[in-house]
């Protein structure tokens, strides 16, 4: 068991088309036993970071420490890590038992001890009956469990998981997600989890690291990331449907701050502590933070419904607002007809204001 310190980790790839900075100055402290997710779109550097921690890639600069031990230059086999791959990477010519035992065998652990460890781990992952089968005779979920078992059996200091659930069908994914959470509860091993699925990151993690273009955007608990996104990219990446963004200007009118969008004006409860240099700003509001209000309520915004979608327990309503469109999330019992005019109220305490319009526009708070 160890805490992990990632210190100004940098990785660039030199290609014929120029240098690509896959990872830029990533610094992160992970506590012993913590579950940390690296999340972001493909190409954001999350997998590169994980592969550097595993020792499968060499960083251009920076250091990695497990506890007091600098492991930056160690071979993967000397790091005492275990990794679960997206493809599971089960050895096709070995049985499940041989797959589980391989790491132990490579570490010179005797036959009896190996058999004992397999016997201990197999019931935990419900693999007892399939130990003598080959990977190709297993279902996707079973393969997934073998891959987990192969990592668990080694009792590693740090557990690395590279999109381990993304090859499973939706139902199995939810199930395995819960199993993974239970497993972490039980083992309390440091886990670093890479995913592009923000829902997996939200449900599993103690802390989430949101990445984009090789740069860490924000690190925090799932609550912090969701309710106080540091910039527009994080705000839009986390949450489904994603946060509504209205681009406009921040002004002071009659001593009170007002967000002026195309066709709408939203008074803000207070001015940001520091007014940005340019008035250009983006107002963000989550689909569940828009309420339907009586038409005569103060500050009500009148808008027209374009489409309503039923998503089981809830409904998503697409609503024309100014020159753009926002999504409103309501319980399924709220029925709105296309073409209908509704009055919307925005909860001022739950508005997000960003300076500028690009995805790196920082939150004003």
């Amino acid at each position: 068991m160890a805490n992990v310190r990632i210190d100004r980790l940098h990785k660039e790839f030199r290609g014929p088309t120029g240098t690509v900075h896959a990872l830029q100055e990533l610094t992160l402290d992970i506590a012993d036993g913590e579950f940390v997710s690296l999340v972001g779109p493909s190409g954001c550097g999350k997998s590169t970071a994980l592969r550097i921690i595993a020792g499968l890639e060499v960083p251009s600069s920076g250091r990695i420490l497990f506890g007091p031990r600098d492991i930056t230059k160690l071979e993967p086999r000397d790091r005492n890590i275990a990794m679960v791959f997206q493809s599971y990477a089960l050895y096709p010519h070995m049985t499940v038992r041989q797959n589980l035992e391989y790491g132990l065998r490579k570490r010179g652990i005797g036959k009896e001890e190996r058999a004992r460890k397999v016997a201990a781990i197999a019931p935990m992952l419900r693999l007892e009956t399939m130990l003598e089968r080959k990977p190709r005779q297993l279902s996707g979920g079973q393969r997934q469990r073998v891959a987990l078992g192969r990592a668990l059996i080694r009792d590693p200091e740090v557990f690395l998981l590279d999109e381990p659930l993304s090859n499973l069908d939706a139902k199995l994914r939810v199930h395995m997600r819960a199993e993974l959470a239970a497993l972490h509860q039980k083992l309390r091993t440091t886990m670093i989890y890479v995913t592009h699925d923000q829902l997996e990151a939200m449900t599993l993690s103690d802390r989430i690291v949101v990445m984009n273009h090789g740069v860490m955007q924000q690190v925090g608990t799932p609550e912090e990331i969701y309710s106080r996104p540091a910039n527009r990219f994080v705000a839009e990446f986390i949450g489904t449907p994603s946060m509504n963004m209205i681009e406009g200007e921040l002004r002071i009118e009659g001593g009170r701050p007002v967000f002026q969008g195309p066709g709408i004006a939203v008074p803000l409860p207070q001015a940001p502590p520091r007014m940005p240099a340019t008035p250009q700003a983006t107002l963000g509001v989550r689909p569940e933070d828009i309420a339907l209000v009586p038409p005569d309520a103060p500050g009500a915004i009148r808008a027209k419904v374009t489409v309503s979608e039923l998503a089981g327990a809830e409904r998503y309503h697409f609503i024309e607002l100014g020159s753009g469109s926002v999504i409103l999330r309501t319980p399924a019992t709220t029925v709105l007809r296309p073409g209908e005019t509704v009055a919307l109220g925005l909860d001022p305490a739950r508005l997000h204001l960003f300076a500028g319009a690009g995805e790196d526009a920082a939150a004003l708070r």
Binding site: A54, G55, L56, E75, P76, R77, R79, I81, A82, M83, F85, Q86, S87, A89, Y91, P92, H93, Y102, G103, K106, R107, R136, R150, R154
Partner: protein
Amino acid sequence: MLRLLRTYGLAMVLLTFVAFPLYWMTLTSLKPQTEVFRVPPTFLPATWTLEHYVNLFWLTDFGLLFWNSLKVCLLSTALSLAVGILGAYALARFNVRGKEAYGRLVLLAYMFPGALLVIPLLLLFRELGLTNSHLGLSLAYLTFSLPFVMWVMRDFFASVPVDLEEAAMIDGATRLGALWDVVLPQAVPGIIATGIFAFLFAWNEYLYALILISDESLRTLPPGMMRFVSTTDTNWGLIMAASTLATLPMALAFGLIQRYLVTGMGAGGVKG
């Protein structure tokens, strides 16, 4: 129905084309000397005889030739696989500068006509004391089999998922350990296919064997069999008997590994 007929008809024509020489060779080896030249020819021997086979072992050094050939072929196959597999793995996995150019160079080496290389090789081998040596002849065969093994195995390795060996390395294997434990078992069809090819090439090779070996006790089969042809007489029965026996190990090997060869030709079908 018509399509079926056409398919089988074509297969029959091809089969005749390929199989008739084998059939004729085997039959001739079983005919007495007097029947070999009979006109019209007999398609089944009128008299069956094993006299050529008996002569082969009692009157010629066929046994020694066969043994020498086997030694040289096994050695050159083992060498080309050992070196070729490591080279191909490096070409498939490592990011070395000029890797692509090197890969193409390997293919170019394979296309070089052997007759062009044999004299320089002879001069070089004489300096190194590698003439009249089975090791020397095996090394000379590497000029052909090694590029082939590297070229084919490179594609095989490229089709084995990198994840597998990365998983093995995290599990505690060295890179060579991962290659041995995890990658090679996935590439078995390729290893067998290229191994057979390397063996076959060496088994049939005539020119190098003739020029690099002059010591009669070290002769291999193809040049050795040429001595059954003299200026005044060609003992066809003897040649055919020797050819039949020389073909046998190959035919057997092909029969046994047919399944792998098909996979081998569809390189990349490793994941089955």
